[in-house]
C-alpha cells in the first residue's frame, strides 16, 4: 500500500503526460502480482466497494473528531477522503500497512453493517498518505486524470509490448488482470478472447495535407461528423465501443440491440436528421443531424424514452472487420467493402446504412466535391487505398483524411491564462471575443472561444509578451488584457449554445494568425458567427 500511496501522490502532482506514463510504467514493472493489477483497476476506476460510501467516512470521523472541527476542516481541505486521512488519530503502534491485495480483499468483504468496525482496522495500519490512498480507492473517486488509454499506454511501455496488443487482450479481462500480466510480464500465452465482444483497435487516417494521391488507387467517402464507433457482437452480447475503446453500449442501447449476428463493424454513430448528407443523399441514404444533436446523447448513463425518440441514433457503416467468425482484416479494402455491402440486407435499415462512396476520377474532381461540404456540414472526405488491409493505428499511405478548410473569423484577445508543462511560465491559453454590434456605436466584446494551439514558439513568445504588457486586471491565474489585439481564429464548425453568453460555441478553435495589422474594431461581430451556424 505504501508504494501505491506514493504513486498516487506523485500522479496528483505530475502534470506532464510523459512523466505520468513513466511513473505508472515503473510501478507496474516493479510491483508484484496481484497488487499491480488491483492498483491498475483502482486508478482506472475499475473497482467498486458498495459498502463504503462518502457518508461512511463522515460517520467514522464523527466518532473520533468533534463534528464542528471536522466540518471546518472539510471546508478548508475540500475533499472528504483527504480530510479524514489527515484527521484520523495516529495509531499508537508503528504502521503495518496491508498490501493492496489485502486491502482490496478486506474492502470487498465489508458489509454496510461491518464497515464501521472493519474500515478503522485498516486505517489504523496506515500513515496519512496511506489512509488517503485507501479511502480514495474505497470510495472509487480517484479523479487524477488517468484515462484507460493512458493506463494501457503505460502498461505497454512497462513491458515493451504495443498498445494495440494491450487493447486486444485487455478487453474482457477483469481485475486483477492476471492473464494480462502473465502474458506481458512473464511471456505466457495471451488471454483467449473467444465468445467475448472484444474491442479491436481502429484503423486511423493521416491528414492529406500536401500529399498527392492517384484516384485510381483510392476510394473516397464522406467524413461524417458523428462519433466513430465499433460494434462488436460475440457470444450473446453486443457492445458499442468509442474510438478510445470505451464501452458506450449503455448510452446507446438501441444501437447495441441492433446487430443480429456475430461481427465486428466499423462506422459512424449519428442521430437522425436532415442536416448532414445534403439533398442528394437524403434520397439515397437518409440524412443525419448535426454533431450538436448527437451531443445531447453523449455521456448519459440513463437514457430516457424521450431521448431515444427525439434523438434516434443509427450507424453509418464504413468497414467490416469480422463477419460470422471470419476475420476479414487481411483482405484489401475493396473486398471488405463488397462483403459489407452484401451484409446490408441482413441489417435493419432503420439502424444501419452504408457510407456512400464518392465518385471522383481525379483529385481535382474530389476537391470540387469537397468544397461543397461546407454547406453539407460534413467534416470533409476520407481517402482509402483500395488494396489496404485493416491495420490498427495510423499506417502511412493507406488512409487519408481531407478535412474541409476551416472557417476563419477575426477575434479580439480578452483574457489569458498560463499553460501547463513546458508552457507553464507562458500565457498560452487565450480567450477571445467578437463584437455584439457595431463597435463604433458602443458595442461590447463577448467571449466566443478559447484556444491554445496553432501557434509557433515565436508567436507564443510574442503573445506572452503582449499579455504581460497589456494587462488590465488579474484574477488569480487569469489576466484580463486590453482589447487591442486581433487573432484570426480557425475552427471546424460553430453551433448555437445556451450556455455561452455570446450564444455560440466553436468546435476545435485554434489560432491561425496574429493580425497585428488589423485594428480591434474591425474584428468580426457575433451576428457574422451566427450566420455560420448550420445546426
Amino acid at each position: 500500500m505504501e508504494h501505491f500511496a506514493a504513486l498516487l501522490d506523485a500522479l496528483v502532482y505530475t502534470r506532464s503526460r510523459n512523466a505520468k506514463l513513466k511513473l505508472l510504467a515503473d510501478y507496474l514493472r516493479e510491483t508484484p502480482d496481484p497488487d499491480r493489477g488491483w492498483a491498475l483497476a483502482a486508478l482506472t476506476d475499475g473497482l467498486d466497494f458498495p459498502a463504503v460510501k462518502s457518508s461512511t467516512i463522515r460517520n467514522l470521523l464523527s466518532e473520533r473528531v468533534d463534528p464542528v472541527l471536522y466540518a471546518l476542516s472539510r471546508d478548508f481541505v475540500g475533499d472528504s477522503a483527504e480530510t479524514a486521512s489527515l484527521l484520523w488519530p495516529e495509531p499508537e503502534t508503528a504502521p503495518d500497512p496491508p498490501t493492496v491485495t489485502e486491502a482490496v480483499d478486506a474492502l470487498a468483504h465489508m458489509t454496510r453493517a461491518s464497515v464501521m468496525s472493519e474500515l478503522p482496522k485498516l486505517l489504523d495500519r496506515l500513515d496519512s498518505d496511506g489512509r488517503y490512498a485507501l479511502l480514495k480507492m474505497a470510495t472509487g473517486a480517484m479523479r487524477i486524470g488517468i484515462s484507460s488509454r493512458l493506463a494501457k499506454t503505460a502498461f505497454a511501455q512497462a513491458f515493451g509490448v504495443t498498445v494495440e496488443e494491450v487493447e486486444e487482450h485487455w478487453h474482457g479481462q477483469t481485475p486483477p488482470y492476471q492473464p494480462l500480466f502473465g502474458w506481458a510480464a512473464h511471456g505466457e500465452e495471451a488471454p483467449s478472447s473467444e465468445g467475448i465482444p472484444l474491442f479491436r483497435p481502429f484503423m486511423l487516417a493521416h491528414p492529406l495535407d500536401e500529399t498527392i494521391v492517384d484516384m485510381a488507387d483510392y476510394a473516397a467517402e464522406w467524413k461524417w461528423d458523428g462519433i466513430r464507433v465499433q460494434l462488436v457482437r460475440a457470444g450473446d452480447e453486443t457492445r458499442v465501443y468509442s474510438r478510445s475503446g470505451d464501452d458506450i453500449s449503455g448510452t446507446f442501447p438501441e444501437v447495441a440491440a441492433s446487430l443480429p449476428f456475430p461481427a465486428v463493424l466499423d462506422g459512424e454513430l449519428l442521430v437522425r436528421g436532415s442536416h448532414q448528407g445534403g439533398p442528394e443523399n437524403d434520397k439515397t441514404q437518409g440524412g443525419a443531424a448535426s454533431f450538436n444533436a448527437l451531443q445531447q446523447r453523449l455521456g448519459r448513463k440513463v437514457v430516457s424514452k424521450k431521448m431515444l425518440a427525439d434523438y434516434p441514433a443509427f450507424v453509418r457503416l464504413y468497414d467490416a472487420l469480422i463477419v460470422d467468425g471470419e476475420d476479414l482484416r487481411e483482405l484489401p479494402w475493396e473486398q471488405r467493402r463488397q462483403r459489407l455491402e452484401a451484409l446490408m440486407p441482413r441489417l435493419d435499415p432503420g439502424d444501419f446504412d452504408l457510407s456512400q462512396v464518392i465518385e471522383a476520377k481525379t483529385l481535382d474532381d474530389l476537391a470540387k466535391i469537397r468544397e461543397r461540404t461546407r454547406d453539407d456540414a460534413i467534416e470533409g472526405v476520407m481517402l482509402k487505398r483500395r488494396d489496404s488491409p485493416y491495420i490498427a493505428g495510423r499506417r502511412t499511405g493507406l488512409w487519408y483524411k481531407w478535412k474541409r478548410d476551416p472557417l476563419l473569423v477575426d477575434c479580439v484577445i480578452m483574457y489569458a491564462q498560463r499553460g501547463n508543462g513546458r508552457r507553464s511560465s507562458f500565457y498560452s491559453d487565450y480567450t477571445f471575443g467578437c463584437w455584439d454590434g457595431d463597435p463604433d456605436q458602443g458595442a461590447e466584446l463577448l467571449p466566443v472561444g478559447k484556444a491554445y494551439s496553432g501557434i509557433t514558439d515565436e508567436e507564443l513568445k510574442f503573445l506572452d509578451k503582449y499579455v504581460r504588457q497589456h494587462t488590465l486586471n488579474r484574477f488569480g491565474p487569469v489576466r484580463e488584457t486590453e482589447r487591442t489585439l486581433v487573432l484570426e481564429i480557425a475552427f471546424d464548425s460553430i453551433h448555437a449554445s445556451k450556455r455561452h453568453k455570446s450564444g455560440v460555441a466553436m468546435r476545435f478553435p485554434r489560432i491561425n494568425r496574429i493580425r497585428t495589422d488589423k485594428p480591434a474594431h474591425e474584428a468580426d461581430r457575433i451576428e457574422t458567427l451566427k450566420g455560420l451556424i448550420r445546426d
Binding site: 505530475t14 471546518l72 475533499d79 483527504e82 489527515l86
Partner: protein, 334 residues
C-alpha cells in the same frame, strides 16, 4: 475585581496598549510601535518610534532603508513603556529576531505571541513558555488537519529529488525572510554542502542572517551562473517567482514549495507544485493547543488565521476565549 483587561484594546489595525499609548504590530503608521518580528505584514515602516529586537530592527532597516526611531530590546530584558506598563521581548522561535511581547500592568500579565512555532530552528532561539493571564495567540494553521511533519523528512525528500534528477535542478519557493534561511540551514545540517543558488530577491536577507551568525554555506546568484552549472543544484526563490518567466533560465526545474499549506494536496496543485515540502515557521494544530495548555492563561485571545476552530477547541476544553478581528496579516506564502 472584574478582570476585563481593558488596558489593552484590540483594534482592526493593531493592538493598543492604552496606558502607554503604544501599538503592537500596527498595520498603519503610529507614534510608538512594538514589533514582534520582521515580516512585512507585522513590521511596517513610518512609525515615530519602533521597539523591537536588534535582529528585527536590522531586517526593517534593510527593507525600509532607515532606522530612525529604532529602540532595540534584548530578549528577556524588561523595559518601561510609561503609564505603568512594562514590556519584555521573549523568543518566539518563528524567524530571526522574532519575539513574543510580555506586557505587565497593575499586576496583570498579557502575552502577544506574534507568529511562533515550537519546533527547533537553527536560525533562532526557541519559543519560551511564560505564564500569563491573557495569551493573545496566532492561529495561522489553526485546523486539526495541520500537523507539520519533522523537517528532516521533508529535507530528505528534497535531497532525494535532487539525487534522482542530476540533469535538472530543484527550484524551491520559500518566503524570503525566515523560511529560505531555515531551509538552507537544515539542508546544510543534513550534510549537503553543494552550492545553493539564489533568486536575486533572496540575497540581502541571506547575507543579513550570516551577519547574525547563521552559517548558510556556499551561496551564489542564479543571475551570475551558467545554466549548465545549476543542474543538480538547489535553487531558492520567493514563491511568486516559481512559475514566472524568471524560471525559464533554469535547467528543467522541479518545482517545489516549502510551506505549511503544502499539507493539503489541492493547495499544492493550485500552485503547480510538483514537490510539496511541508515546512512551516508557524505552530501547527498540536503546537497551538499544547501552547495554550502549557501557558495555561486565564483567557485566550485568538488573532489571525483560522480562529473558529481554535475557539471551538477552547470551548471543548472549558477555556475562556475570544477571537480578535485583526486585518492586514497575510498568510498565503508562509
Amino acid at each position: 475585581m472584574a478582570r476585563d483587561f481593558s488596558w489593552i484594546r484590540p483594534e482592526p489595525w493593531g493592538i493598543h496598549v492604552t496606558p502607554a499609548d503604544c501599538w503592537i504590530d500596527p498595520s498603519r503608521p503610529v507614534d510608538r510601535a512594538l514589533v514582534t518580528h520582521g515580516h512585512a505584514d507585522h513590521a511596517r515602516g513610518g512609525h515615530g518610534e519602533t521597539f523591537a529586537t536588534p535582529e528585527t530592527l536590522a531586517i526593517m532597516k534593510l527593507r525600509y532603508q532607515t532606522d530612525e526611531g529604532a529602540q532595540a530590546t534584548v530578549y528577556g530584558e524588561t523595559i518601561s513603556l510609561g503609564g505603568g506598563v512594562d514590556a519584555t521581548w521573549l523568543p518566539a522561535g518563528h524567524v530571526l529576531g522574532s519575539a513574543q511581547i510580555l506586557l505587565e500592568h497593575a499586576g496583570e500579565r498579557i502575552i502577544v505571541t506574534g507568529d511562533y512555532k515550537r519546533r527547533p530552528d537553527p536560525t533562532c532561539p526557541p519559543f519560551q513558555v511564560t505564564p500569563c493571564d491573557v495569551l493573545i495567540t496566532e492561529a495561522t494553521f489553526g485546523l486539526p488537519v495541520f500537523k507539520h511533519p519533522p523537517i528532516e523528512d521533508e529535507v530528505a525528500k528534497l535531497l532525494k529529488a535532487l539525487a534522482d534528477n542530476p540533469d535538472r535542478c530543484v527550484l524551491v519557493g520559500a518566503y524570503a525572510l525566515g523560511k529560505a534561511q531555515r531551509l538552507i540551514a537544515e539542508v546544510r545540517r543534513a550534510g549537503h554542502h553543494e552550492t545553493i543558488y539564489l533568486h536575486g530577491a533572496m540575497e540581502r536577507m541571506c547575507r543579513l542572517y550570516e551577519e547574525f551568525g547563521v552559517d548558510l554555506g556556499d551561496l551564489k546568484l542564479v543571475s551570475e551562473a551558467k545554466k549548465d552549472a545549476i543542474a543538480g543544484h538547489i535553487v531558492v526563490c520567493p514563491p511568486s517567482a516559481l512559475n514566472d518567466r524568471w524560471s525559464r533560465r533554469l535547467p528543467e526545474p522541479i518545482t517545489a514549495m516549502a510551506s505549511g499549506w503544502m499539507r493539503v494536496r489541492q493547495r499544492a496543485r493550485q500552485r503547480m507544485v510538483e514537490l510539496p515540502l511541508v515546512i512551516s515557521d508557524h505552530a501547527d494544530w498540536d503546537e497551538l493547543t499544547r501552547t495554550v495548555e502549557e501557558v495555561n492563561p486565564f483567557e485566550t485571545w485568538i488573532t489571525h488565521g483560522r480562529e473558529e476552530a481554535m475557539l471551538r477547541w477552547c470551548q471543548l476544553h472549558q477555556r475562556r476565549a475570544k477571537a480578535l478581528a485583526l486585518v492586514g496579516y497575510e498568510d498565503e506564502d508562509d
